[in-house]
Symmetry: C3
Subunit: 330 residues, 3 copies
Amino acid sequence: SFQRECYSVDVKKSPTTTKSKFQLDDVIEAQQFERDTLNDIFKVAREMESIEKNSSCSKILDGFLMATLFYEPSTRTRLSFESAMKRLGGEVLTTENAREFSSAAKGETLEDTIRTVESYSDIIVLRHFESGAARRTATTANIPVINAGDGPGQHPTQALLDVYTIRREIGSLDGLKLALVGDLANGRTVRSLAYLIAKYRDIKIYFVSPDVVKMKDDIKNYLTSMGVQWEESTNLLEAASNCDVIYQTRIQRERFGERIDLYEAARGKYIVDKNVLNVMPKHAVVMHPLPRLDEITLDVDSDPRAAYFRQAKNGLYIRMALLKLLLLGW
Amino acid sequence: SFQRECYSVDVKKSPTTTKSKFQLDDVIEAQQFERDTLNDIFKVAREMESIEKNSSCSKILDGFLMATLFYEPSTRTRLSFESAMKRLGGEVLTTENAREFSSAAKGETLEDTIRTVESYSDIIVLRHFESGAARRTATTANIPVINAGDGPGQHPTQALLDVYTIRREIGSLDGLKLALVGDLANGRTVRSLAYLIAKYRDIKIYFVSPDVVKMKDDIKNYLTSMGVQWEESTNLLEAASNCDVIYQTRIQRERFGERIDLYEAARGKYIVDKNVLNVMPKHAVVMHPLPRLDEITLDVDSDPRAAYFRQAKNGLYIRMALLKLLLLGW
Amino acid sequence: SFQRECYSVDVKKSPTTTKSKFQLDDVIEAQQFERDTLNDIFKVAREMESIEKNSSCSKILDGFLMATLFYEPSTRTRLSFESAMKRLGGEVLTTENAREFSSAAKGETLEDTIRTVESYSDIIVLRHFESGAARRTATTANIPVINAGDGPGQHPTQALLDVYTIRREIGSLDGLKLALVGDLANGRTVRSLAYLIAKYRDIKIYFVSPDVVKMKDDIKNYLTSMGVQWEESTNLLEAASNCDVIYQTRIQRERFGERIDLYEAARGKYIVDKNVLNVMPKHAVVMHPLPRLDEITLDVDSDPRAAYFRQAKNGLYIRMALLKLLLLGW
C-alpha cells in the first residue's frame, strides 16, 4: 500500500496535574513563562518529536486555521510556524509582506486589520516591525496570538527553543555556564535568552563582544538582581574552555548604517573555529540562532558539538507544542 | 481526546425547489443576480455560519483546488476567499503578485495564463487591474471563475456581502432607507451596492459626499429608471436620523494624484462619530467596506450599531456559499 | 450528498518487476534518466491522470510536506508543482521570492538554508538563479530534491514533460522527426529536449533559428556522437512539412540586453501560423513550453494539432509521478 504506517501516538492530555488550571492565552514575551511552565511546555515539545514522524496519523489540529501575518519578511520563522501547523494537520493563511501589500499601506490601524483577520482564522502568528505590536494584537484579538518577533522587542519562541535546546543537549539548566558571543547590543535573541535563563539556579554568563555592540545595562542589572553571575570577557578561548554553551551570534550589518568601518572592525573579532572547539569541554555545545555568516567556520559543522541545526529543528517542536497548547489546552 | 467534537451539519441540498434548475457558472458582476437568486444565495450563506464552526467535520470541498490569481495585491480579499475555501475542506494555490512575477511580465496574454491555471485547479478567483478582465477569464476558462475585483469595474462579492449584511442586520431589504457617504465617485463598492439594492422595493438613497467625489450620473439615471428614490444631501446628521443604514466609505487618496489639497478638503468633511450615533435610529447600522481611516471615529466601534466588523465576517460566509454553489451546485 | 463519488483508484505499486531495485533519489538533470527509466516514469504519469480526477479519494501523499524554495519567481512552474502535491493529498510550504526575502539577503549560504528547510519538510523543490544550485542542494539535503530550474542550467521536469507529451501525442519516440524553432542558443528547454530525445532510435532534428540564437556546438556534437541526424534549416515551411513535432520557442528579450535591434530582427522571423499548419502532416503536433508571445499566432490554438496547452497539463502528471516516486518509491 502507498499509505505510511500509523504508529499510535500517545500524547498525554495533562503532562502535570498541578498545572491543570494553567491557562496559556497568548505568547507575547519570554518573561511571561515561569520555570514550571517552561518545564511543562518542554514536555509537550518532546512529545511533538514523535508526532512529527507520523503526521498523517495524528492530525490533532485538523480543522484549525492559522494566519501568519508578517509585516516584515522572515522566511525562516514563517516556514517553521507553517510546518508546525501543517505537521499537526492544521491549515494556514499566509501573508508574507503585509506591510507593503495590505491595507496598512492605506493607513488602516493594526487593530482594525486584526479584527478582520481574526474573523478568518483560529490563531494569529504576528511578525511586526514595531515593538509592542504583539501585545496590541493580543489585546484586540479574541483568538490566541503568538509573537513571531516585533521589531527590536521580543521573539519569545526563539528564546523558548534556545532554552529547550540547552535542556535537550546538556540535560539540565541549573548550574549552567554560558558564553554569549557577538552582537549583544542589537541581538534580540541573546537578550531574551538572558532573561529566561535567569530563572534557573547557579547560572554564570560570559559576555564576549566587540566594544561597539556590548550587552546593555538593563540586562546586566536584571541579571544581578536575579542573582545571576556575569562578567565581560575579551578572551573567547578562555570563556569557551569554561562553558557548557557557546551561543554565537551574527554581527548585524544592517544596524551599522553608513559606518561600514565599525561593522568591519566588529565582525571577525570573535570567530568560533577549530581552535575554539579544541578548548571546549566534550559535553559542551555551540549554538547559533541562524543565519550564520562566517562567525562560525564551516569546519565546525561536522563536530557533534555543533548544535545549531538541531536547534533550528527544535524550533519546530516548540512551535508545534505552543500551537497545540494554545488551541487545545494541556 | 484532542479531537474537537463533530456536530452533524445539516446542509440542505436544494434550498428551494423552484430554483432547482438555476445554474451558477461564474460570478462576474453584481448585476447578474436577480432578487430570487440573491435570496437563495443568502440562505446558503446562512447555513455556512454553522459549517464554519465545525469545519473539521464538514469538508464538503475536500479534494477541490482553488487558484487565487491576484494581479494586484489585496490581502484582505485574498485571505477571505482562502479562509472560505479552507473552512470547507478545499485547498488553495496562491499567487499574490501575478502582475510582477508571472509570465505576464514576459508578455503572455491573460487568456494563455488562464488556460494554464485552469489545468492546475478547479476554480479561479481573479483579482485584476483591468476592467473586464474577469469576463475575459470566464470566457476562456472551462472551470468556474469568481471576480474578486477587476480595476475600476466590478467587485461583486463585496456587493453581495453588503446586501447580505443589511438583510442580516435589518431583517428586510424592501422599504429600506440608506445613506451612502464619502467617496461616491471612485468607490466601486457604493456603485455596486446601488445597483443591487435597486432590485428591492421602496428604496430611498441619500448621497452624502464632498463635491469633488459626487455620485456619477450613470448610477443616478439607473436608479431613477428602476423607480428608486434618491437625493443628494450635504447634511449627514439629517440623513443619519432618517436612515436604516449609514454606509460610510474612505476617501481614496490614491485617486487624487498630486492634488493633495483637494484630498484634504474632501477627507474629514463627513465623519461618522458619536454625534451621528446620537441621531441614528436604534435599529439602524453603520457599515463600511474597510479599511477605515478616520471617517468613522474609534469610539463608534463599541456601539452595537457598528456593523462593519460583522460585515467583514459576512464576507466569509458569502464566499463559502459561492464556492459551494459553483463547485457543487445547489 | 455533497461528497464527490470515490472511484477506486488502482495505482500499481511496481510498474515493472525488472526495475524494482531502481532508486530515484533526486531529480537534478535530464541526462540522469535512461530510456527504461523514462518509460517507467511515463507509466506512472499515465496513472496520475486518473488520480487527478479523484483526488479526494486518493491521498497517497497525505502527511507529506513539500517545500517550494524559489530563489527567482516562476509562477507557472511553482503552481504546477504545488497543484501536483495537493492533488495527491500532500501539503506545501511556499516561498516565492527566497532571494529577496530570506536570510540569503543577509549572506547565508544555500547549504545552510537547505539544512534548515529540510528540517521542516519531506521534499524540496528548488528554483535558483545559479547553474549547479540544484546539485549542491541535493548533496546537502538528506531528503529528496527536485530541480525546478537552476539558472541557464537544467530544468529536467520540463524536459520530461516534453518527451512525455510527444509520446502521448505521437504514440512513439523512435523514428521521430522534430523541428526545434526559435531561440536555440538560450533556450534551456530545447537543449534539454535534444539531450533526452537522443536516447531514442532514428531521430532527425531540424534546427530552425535566426543566426544570432543558433544551437550551440556542444549539443550538435553530442547529437552526432549519439548517432542523431540533425541539420540547420532556414526554411520553416519545409521543415514543418517533414516533421512529427514542431517545437516552437520564444525569443527571450531578456537575453539581448541593450541590443533591442538584434532582438527585433530575430523575433518574428519564424512564426507558426496557418501557413505552417497547412503544410504539416495530419498526425503532427505543435508544441511550446509557454509563455507564448506572437511566435505562434492565435488562430493556431483551435487546430487539434496545437498541443501546447495539453503539454502544460502533462507537466502536472509528470510532477505528480515524480513526487510519488521520490516519496513513496515505485
